[in-house]
């Protein structure tokens, strides 16, 4: 009887196989597709950012023969430093441009011509002359920063194929730029301005220096608060905490805080630190405090895991020779757990570095040109700078935003790489 049912079953199964294997293959393809979708998204995201951001690392310059005669500059021949500082460089530059293109006569055309150079060009020229007053009285070939729109034409981001109404570089400017390029009067250089300047209304003059300083100070405060407190809390919970309701309450709180939206921490910062304690707005100090509260759960949770992983035999050995619990922890457990703790802390810091929402709440969204000198100076941070620039419609800012993102991501990759290295390195041991 069994033999019959067996062979009947075999036949039935055989009949169903084709369909089932088709389904199996289909299912596997869904899986591959899902992984692929993740990859594609990641690729598009990164490619988008990199392709948009790369041009921002170069800046075009235009070589102009500037006549630095005292009468053009509106100063005496033996001018004081103050007079040199206040001289009419704009006029000198404009006169030089007119001299290079003598055919340009109309008012509108002249305006167009002047817009080939950055508004900041006069300040560059001023700084040059201040450094080398000997330039006065001569005509010098000077490389001046190109305007962002002219730059984007020179970089090839905008081509003359577009209808004139669809681009900001007009036909006339295109012709001049082509001419300048043919004369070897244009040059692309590494954009140092991007790293040495603060925010600006002009894309070609905007940089991330303030944001970098701000991020640095903010992370400093975050680390200074979150690391010691986080490790102490982890030590307490792993080594000393009695099993009781209070400990449970603490643990539940830590787990929940890890999942509280970051913006809520911003509200806390605004209400408590700014309104109640009256700490300065826009300052890395408050930003750091808020971010440290936000990263504490991460640090506590990873530190606890690292402490848990320390073999109990080390503890027993230390306790066995008469060390107290605290000595056991500080002398034996913590050094062994330190790589794990550091790994978790670096990951927490990376989170804090990329965070922006709570910082919007405490006023770190200001337009700031000068780098902060300390933790109480107004400042912004890299992600918030990105947020601010992303709002600006100019093409130049889109480019700068993407470049700032590349810098930010670079730091994040560095930090995560360090964390991974630490983990691998010490796991082997």
């Amino acid at each position: 009887m069994s033999k019959q049912s067996s062979s009947r079953a075999s036949a039935a199964i055989r009949a169903s196989l084709k369909k089932r294997y088709a389904r199996e293959r289909r299912f596997q393809w869904y899986g591959r597709l899902a992984v692929l979708i993740g990859f594609v998204f990641l690729f598009i995201l990164l490619a988008d950012i990199v392709s948009k951001g790369t041009p921002a690392f170069t800046q075009h310059y235009i070589r102009v023969s500037v006549e630095l005669e005292p009468d053009v500059l509106g100063i005496e021949r033996d001018a004081t430093r103050d007079q040199i500082f206040n001289a009419n460089y704009l006029g000198a530059i404009r006169a030089s441009l007119r001299a290079m293109f003598p055919d340009v006569t109309g008012r509108k055309e002249k305006q167009q011509l002047y817009r080939l150079l950055s508004i900041g060009a006069e300040y560059n020229l001023r700084d040059m002359v201040l450094k080398n007053p000997g330039l006065i009285g001569h005509t010098s070939e000077i490389w001046l920063r190109a305007h962002a729109e002219a730059g984007s034409y020179l970089k090839g981001q905008v081509t003359a194929d577009l209808p004139e109404s669809d681009r900001k570089v007009k036909d006339m400017q295109v012709a001049w730029l082509d001419q300048l390029r043919a004369q070897g009067r244009t040059e692309s250089r590494f954009n140092t301005t991007f790293f040495t300047q603060g925010d600006s209304r002009e894309p070609e003059m905007a940089g991330i220096r303030v944001a970098l300083y701000g991020s640095f100070f903010t992370l400093l405060v975050t680390f200074a608060i979150a690391f010691p407190i986080g490790v102490s809390a982890a030590v307490y919970l792993e080594e000393f905490a009695p099993r009781n309701r209070l400990t449970d309450l603490i643990e539940i709180n830590i787990n929940n805080l890890a999942a509280v939206p970051s913006i809520v921490f911003g509200l806390l910062g605004l209400a408590v630190f700014i309104n109640f304690f009256e700490l300065p707005r826009s300052a890395p100090l408050v930003g750091g405090i808020v971010l440290s509260l936000m990263t504490l759960p991460t640090i506590i949770i990873t530190s606890r895991a690292a402490i848990q992983a320390v073999s109990p035999s080390i503890r027993q050995a230390a306790l066995g020779v008469g060390a107290s619990r605290l000595q056991t922890v500080t002398h034996h457990v913590l050094p062994v757990a330190m790589p794990g703790i550091l790994t978790g802390s670096i990951i927490g810091m990376a989170q804090a570095l990329g965070e922006s929402a709570p910082l919007l709440m405490i006023g770190m969204v200001a337009f700031i040109m000068d780098a902060p000198a300390g933790v109480t100076d107004p400042s912004t941070v890299l992600p918030v700078q990105i947020f601010l620039w992303a709002d600006s419609p100019e093409r130049g800012f889109t480019e700068k935003t993407s470049a700032a993102i590349m810098v930010l991501m670079g730091f994040l990759i560095l930090m995560n790489g360090l964390a991974v290295y630490l983990r691998r390195h010490f796991e082997k041991k």
């Binding site: 067996s6 079953a9 169903s16 196989l17 089932r20």
Partner: protein, 291 residues
């Protein structure tokens, strides 16, 4: 290679009662299985089987037949390869990426590892019961109905009900659970769970049932019920059982195979193995000198 096997297996021979150089004995045996590994009416055959986990060899040149409607017991110290060998018979080792199997296997003369062999069909024909009872976290009914459903063995609810009831009866569980078929299978006692797993295996009408230490997690009373059941099942199925209990092997099997360090040392009628073992290692094992 030999060295490494030796090392890993020393754990299994921890309680040697008198000094015994096992390696020497195995080498003297020259890999030649003592006894009669072949059967006149073989349901399954295995020839020159070698199994490797990455570099480590788990089974060395084992040949063994499993006779039709017999219960064959595989015994030996832990780590001897008996479970690994059992799992090669329905290709459960395929799941483990590191595992590599060599040798010729056949079920009713049909190549098990052949290119045209289908694991789905094979595993339906060669069912398996595991060491720990592992019912799905579903109702008792759904546990048994699982196989028939995925294989499409029932065309309607009535047929499915019939298969479920029949399988539970054959596993002598029906009377205990007939009023709670919709209760979770995980809520049963350990022995009941294992019988549920047997019913689940039976439900797809297998020809062979492989049992991997089915009673190791059970108490003596539950064990006795399973042993009774195995005896009843022999009528319709071919059964290969791995066990670490020699009493169990003696009670339920007709033939017994003794494995040691990945090698099949001795095989024969159960009675003969337990009363007159021919190999010193077998003797040492069944007399409890190591285990």
């Amino acid at each position: 290679m030999m060295e490494r096997v030796q090392q890993t297996d020393t754990a299994g021979i921890g309680d040697v009662k008198r000094p015994l150089d096992i390696r020497e004995h195995v080498e003297r045996a020259d890999y030649q299985t003592i006894g009669e590994p072949f059967s006149g009416d073989a349901k399954m055959t295995a020839r020159n089987v070698n199994v490797y986990y990455d570099e480590k060899q788990a089974i060395t040149n084992v040949s063994l037949d499993i006779g039709r409607n017999e219960v064959i017991a595989m015994i030996g110290p832990s780590g001897c390869g008996k479970s690994t060998f059992l799992r090669t018979l329905n290709r459960m080792n395929d799941i483990i990426p590191a595992c590599r199997v060599e040798g010729e296997f056949a079920l009713d003369g049909e190549d098990i590892y052949g290119a045209d062999q289908d694991t789905v069909l094979l595993r339906a024909r060669v069912g398996m019961v595991f060491q720990k009872p592992n019912p799905f976290p579903k109702s008792i009914y759904e546990n048994v109905a699982y196989g028939p459903r995925i294989h499409g063995l029932a065309h309607n609810k009535a047929e499915l009900d019939e298969i479920v009831e029949d399988s539970l009866r054959r596993a002598s569980l029906f009377n205990e659970v007939k009023d709670q078929l919709d209760k979770p299978g995980t809520g049963l006692s350990g022995g009941q769970q294992q019988r549920l797993c047997i019913a689940r295996a039976i439900a797809v009408s297998p020809e062979v049932i492989l049992m991997d230490e089915p009673c190791s997690a059970l108490d003596p009373i539950a064990t006795a019920r399973i042993e009774e059941l195995i005896d009843e099942l022999r009528e319709n199925y071919t059964i290969a059982i791995v066990t670490h209990s020699m009493q169990q092997a003696a009670r339920v099997s007709q033939r017994t195979a003794y494995f040691h360090m990945g090698k099949l040392i001795e095989v024969g009628e159960t009675k003969q193995i337990f009363t007159m073992p021919k190999h010193e290692l077998t003797e040492n094992y069944i007399t409890g000198r190591f285990g």
